[in-house]
């Protein structure tokens, strides 16, 4: 392939699928310009604004107790939500791909609901369920349980929004793999748990990690659903994205962008990990097939 291309170039000819140099340059320029202005520039602005008054101001903004509280809440949320949705995702993908049962297609569709509805609606649903005027509101009030405008609300809303990630990642993967390996393990006398740990898990581990990563990214970054249920109580129910908004509305730009820069860095870390995992999986797959 390369040889043909070089040969053609030497002969001053164009291959059918190679365009004129001018066209090529123009296409690349458009792509790069778009990337710079819509992706890189905004991110640079975040860091530029955060560091406008120097590192000391940046550090001070991040050292505020409210900022710390927001970070703690965001991490706590991710720590609770990601494992729950991982277990749910694996269980759902397992049920959908290894068994046939009535309502299977309905379940596949329902898993996608959090993807298809606006996160704001996701949040509102829980206000309607657990809010003071909501379905369970009076009962919760009687027993002095606070969900809406409290930490449980934040966690529930995040759970809802990030529910599909792991399942969505695993279902196509496990559908492709079929149930034959599991059947083989069972026929060899393995228990259900042994089959899962020794056979299924190694087969899906890269997809699973990828799903967990995406779930984690969203759990940290979620704004809409959480904004509805949290009530923005600074130091109590403000997650990092909500805290950024609060600070920004208070014209505290340095602090807002400082916290935002942390979120950007987390997102970057996620992307880098994801790329590594993808490369790892791609490196494994030709050997696997």
């Amino acid at each position: 392939m390369v040889d043909t291309a070089q040969h053609a170039r030497r002969a001053g000819q164009l291959l059918p699928l190679s365009e004129r140099p001018s066209v090529r340059a123009a296409l690349i320029a458009i792509a790069v310009a778009f990337f710079l202005s819509f992706l890189l520039l905004p991110l640079m602005v975040v860091f530029a604004e955060a560091l406008r008054y120097g590192l000391a101001a940046y550090w001070a903004a991040l050292s505020e107790p409210e900022a710390h509280a927001a970070m703690r809440l965001t991490l706590l949320t991710a720590l609770i939500v990601v494992p729950i949705n991982t277990v749910f995702g694996v269980a759902a993908a397992w049920a959908i791909t290894k068994f046939s049962f009535t309502g299977k297609n309905l379940l596949i569709t329902l898993i996608d609901v959090p993807f298809s509805v606006s996160p704001v609606i996701g949040g509102m649903v829980f206000v309607l369920l657990f809010g003071l005027q909501g379905v369970f509101g009076p009962w919760l009030a009687q027993h002095d349980i606070k969900i809406i405008f409290a930490v449980p609300g934040v966690i529930i809303a995040t759970l809802f929004v990030t529910l599909p990630f792991v399942a969505r990642e695993l279902i196509p993967l496990m559908q492709k793999q079929g149930a034959e390996h599991e059947e083989a393990a069972l026929m060899l006398g393995a228990s259900g748990w042994q089959t899962f740990v020794r056979v299924t898990l190694p087969n899906i581990k890269w997809g699973l990690l990828y799903g967990v990563l995406l779930c984690n990214g969203r759990a940290i970054g979620e704004f809409g659903a959480v904004a509805v249920v949290s009530g923005h109580i600074i130091g109590l129910t403000n997650t990092m994205p909500l805290h950024v908004e609060t600070l920004y509305n208070d014209f505290n730009f340095v602090a807002a962008f400082a916290v935002a820069s942390l979120l950007v860095m987390m997102a970057f870390a996620t992307l880098v990990l994801k790329t590594v995992l993808e490369a790892r999986a791609a490196w494994k797959s030709p050997r696997r097939q």
Binding site: E180, H181, E183, A184, A185, L186, M187, L188, G189, A190, S191, Q194, R198, V199, P202, N203, R287, R288, Q289
Partner: protein, 385 residues
């Protein structure tokens, strides 16, 4: 182990995959389930394994209802069509799997497991491949790993789903023989599924021929080949030539030519099925034109080929393509050329009512479809020469 399948039925939505199937499998028997795709053979095998459940009917192993037996009591090993090897484990780990997942109280110590695995790898001639991963092996080697892995749990019954389906012809025959050897020396009762009639007839003690969820015939390879009970069985077991004929008063006629009738067929239109090696050709000029010794009219030679000692002539007779098979010498002796004419007589015809024959086989369709296939074979043969 004796396996008794009784009135087994299984339905997938509208389709009867198994329709009241009965089958007795004797101890230490090697039995082949043969049929086209969709005939229910794999479903039957999976039910025997306990991987699927029947809607009604029973499977008993040594007289005990198999659905009530635990896997250990059942003693069934299953080899999957695509081997289902654990790709993240080495060959050694794959074979050891069934021994290592046993509950601790009955699990053997690691050294004994290792010893057993080495024995099995020697048995399937893979002792030097213990540390390889499945994806580093050829298809035939993977198949043997799958076999060793299944044998590790000491099954009494070995079930194999299309065991040689994905392998090339030469490896297939080799593995066939070694499987038969393992079956005999380990005293197994073996059931395998295949759609390849040659494989089934070559390997099995008895063959069960399945079609659309029922077992059409069970018998030794010789029995089913020589006395096929239905047009389907005849057609499925080898190349089939079909001749329209009529049954009248207990005799079958093709014009004035009388066909030997070995079973009492009803009067009416019928089809005579004849294998290519039972189609006998004679030259027109040499044939004494005594009525009744040959089929009426002549056949046109369309194509001839010889591969080794075996020669094939393809003829057009009564708008149908007929294949005749003989030794190369006798084809030469006939002195036929493409385009020349000859007369035909038939040995060992099997005569079935026409309606039944057309329902169960695709006699009519195939007459039109075959020339294309033949041309492909011809191209193939010319490249060989």
């Amino acid at each position: 182990m004796e396996i008794a399948v009784k009135d087994l039925s299984k339905r997938f939505e509208q389709l009867m995959v198994l329709d009241r199937v009965n089958l007795q499998i004797r101890d230490k028997e090697f039995i082949g389930l043969l049929g086209p795709s969709g005939s229910g053979k794999t479903t039957l095998l999976r039910i025997l394994a306990g991987l699927d459940f029947a809607d009604s009917g029973t499977v008993s192993i040594d007289g005990r209802d198999s659905t009530r037996l635990t896997l250990d009591e059942r003693g069934v090993g299953f080899v999957f069509q695509h081997y289902a090897l654990f790709n993240h484990m080495t060959v050694f780990q794959n074979v050891a799997f069934g021994l290592e997942v046993k509950p601790r109280r009955i699990r053997k110590p690691a050294a004994q497991i290792a010893k057993r695995v080495r024995e099995l790898l020697t048995l399937v001639q893979l002792e030097t491949f213990a540390d390889r991963f499945p994806l580093q092996l050829s298809g035939g080697q993977r198949q043997r790993v799958a076999l060793a892995r299944t044998l590790a749990i000491d099954p009494k019954v070995l079930l194999l789903d299309e065991p040689f389906g994905a392998l090339d012809a030469k490896v297939r025959v080799e593995l066939r023989r070694s499987l038969r050897h393992i079956h005999d020396s380990a005293g197994l009762t073996t059931v395998f599924v295949t759609h390849d009639q040659e494989e089934a007839l070559d390997l099995a003690d008895r063959v069960a021929i399945m079609n659309r969820g029922i077992i059409e015939q069970v018998g030794t390879p010789v029995e089913v080949y020589e006395t096929p009970r239905s047009p389907f069985v005849f057609d499925f077991l080898g190349h089939t030539n079909a001749f329209d004929c009529v049954v009248r008063g207990g005799k079958a006629y093709l014009g004035a030519y009388q066909l030997a009738l070995d079973s009492a067929a009803r009067d009416g239109p019928a089809v005579a099925f004849v294998r290519p090696h039972d189609v006998v050709l004679s030259r027109v000029d040499r044939a004494t034109i005594e009525t009744g010794a040959r089929l009426p009219g002549t056949a046109l030679v369309r194509f001839m080929s010889a591969l080794g000692e075996r020669a094939i002539a393809e003829l057009l007779y009564d708008k149908r393509l007929i294949e005749a098979e003989m030794t190369r010498q006798s084809l030469q002796d006939l002195g036929l050329k493409v385009g020349s004419k000859c007369t035909i007589s038939l040995r060992h015809p099997r005569i079935y009512p026409r309606q039944e024959a057309e329902e169960q086989t695709r006699v009519a369709e195939r007459a039109a479809a075959r020339p294309r296939k033949r041309r492909r074979l011809r191209d193939h043969l010319s490249t060989l020469r």
